[in-house]
């Protein structure tokens, strides 16, 4: 709440219902963030004692990676939301975007964690009708999650608060938009199974064993998770760039963000081409 109401943005003239909606949008994202942490804590301990493996690595690696990633994503949206104009922030559009982001983030992680506890794969799992259906639903949920970030990014560019620092606003807006678009493209390539067969591996040994530490990316062949990772985290990289520019190079903000957008695009393209050619990232 404080993030919205501590601002000097004039809130006069807004109806109580719309003020409530603005506070509710923020609370939804906060709750979704808390839900990720609440599942991450027992998942981390389970990782320490559970000996079950999936494709040669602990069943808990995947939920932990997604929990962490979604904490970062919810935190990013919470960070950028108050830069939107107060009147817009109180609109139904923002509320719907925040609701969609929170609901899909919670739904995805609930299923991923449940499947880990069952010792079964959540992604690329078509072995039972229910799991195949759930994999499909997760795909739709993930697309909606990314689209909600895209919507918030567009609002940030078109309806900014007059008090929003330029770098953070542009970095945040373009970061969410470019990040969302490239995430959707890489996710589609990854999920389609058209490149290197079903799964995210292209050539090489199809396992995370011996993969890049922490990430598990293949070191023997291409891995479509690499461009997907960079695409998703443009949503953090560009706002952080904007924040730094605001602080240290306030005169170069626009050119700096433009350079950041090009660099992000280049990194995702390069790692995508690399993966498609079955070359390991490192």
């Amino acid at each position: 709440m404080t993030m919205i109401f501590d601002q000097t943005t004039p809130l006069a003239g807004l109806s109580p219902a719309s003020l409530l909606r603005a506070a509710s949008a923020e609370r939804l994202l906060l709750l979704a963030l808390g839900f990720q942490i609440a599942l991450a804590v027992p998942s981390l301990i389970a990782f320490g004692i559970d000996d079950r493996l999936l494709n040669g690595i602990s069943v808990w690696i995947k939920p932990l990676k997604f929990q962490l990633s979604l904490v970062v994503m919810m935190a990013t949206l919470l960070w950028l939301l108050p830069l939107i104009d107060a009147r817009t922030l109180a609109s139904r559009g923002i509320w719907l975007a925040a609701f969609t982001a929170a609901a899909t983030a919670i739904g995805e992680i609930a299923y991923i964690t449940l499947q880990a506890a069952r010792g079964r794969a959540s992604h690329f799992n078509n072995s039972t009708p229910i799991e195949a259906t759930m994999y499909g639903i997760m795909g739709i949920g993930a697309a909606l999650l990314v689209l909600s970030a895209l919507v918030i990014g567009i609002y940030l560019l078109t309806r900014p608060s007059p008090f929003a620092p330029t770098g953070l606003r542009l970095g945040g807006g373009w970061g969410l938009i470019l990040g969302a678009i490239l995430t959707l493209i890489t996710a589609f390539a990854l999920g389609s199974g058209q490149i290197g067969g079903p799964g995210h591996w292209v050539g090489g040994v199809r396992t995370d064993v011996g993969g890049l530490p922490l990430f598990g990316w293949s070191q023997t062949g291409g891995d479509l998770r690499v461009p997907h990772f960079f695409a998703t985290h443009i949503m953090q990289a560009l706002p952080i760039l904007g924040f730094v520019l605001d602080r240290y190079l306030p005169g170069q903000v626009r050119i700096g963000i433009a350079a950041g957008v090009l660099a992000s695009f280049a990194v995702v393209t390069a790692t995508f081409v690399q993966a498609v050619r079955a070359m390991p990232f490192l």
């Binding site: 804590v41 027992p42 998942s43 301990i45 389970a46 004692i49 559970d50 079950r52 964690t113 880990a116 506890a117 069952r118 010792g119």
Partner: protein
Amino acid sequence: MDFTQLFPSASSAAMLGWLVLILAPRRPIVMQSLRLGLIGLLSLTYAVLIFVYFFRVEGGGFGSLAEVRTLFLNDGVLVAGWIHYLAFDLFVGTWIALEADRLGWNRVVQAPILVVTFMFGPIGLLLFFIMRASQSALTTAKA
């Protein structure tokens, strides 16, 4: 995982919690450490045990008595089930204590209700409900 260690540790921790609840002053910090600290820790332990062991039990589930029996044949799930009792009974105990304080019940009267809740959870809760109902019925009648 050594369940023969986990079982007595969890039980002793819960026992300590009950002693604190029955004997210690009801400061907010005491009640919060019971709820967020001790019960939180028991709940976390329960969550980890369920995460790791529950779905491994072949033929286990909540659908029939046979399925539940199969579940509890697994030591991991059995300890989890025990910790479920410990955590939820103690939470109900803290709730009864706070309600009883609010109603102004003497701590000596509260003690047996809490001990019964500790030993046989729902019976303690039933005692509290019936005592509270009869008190309110009698005070209304008198007024």
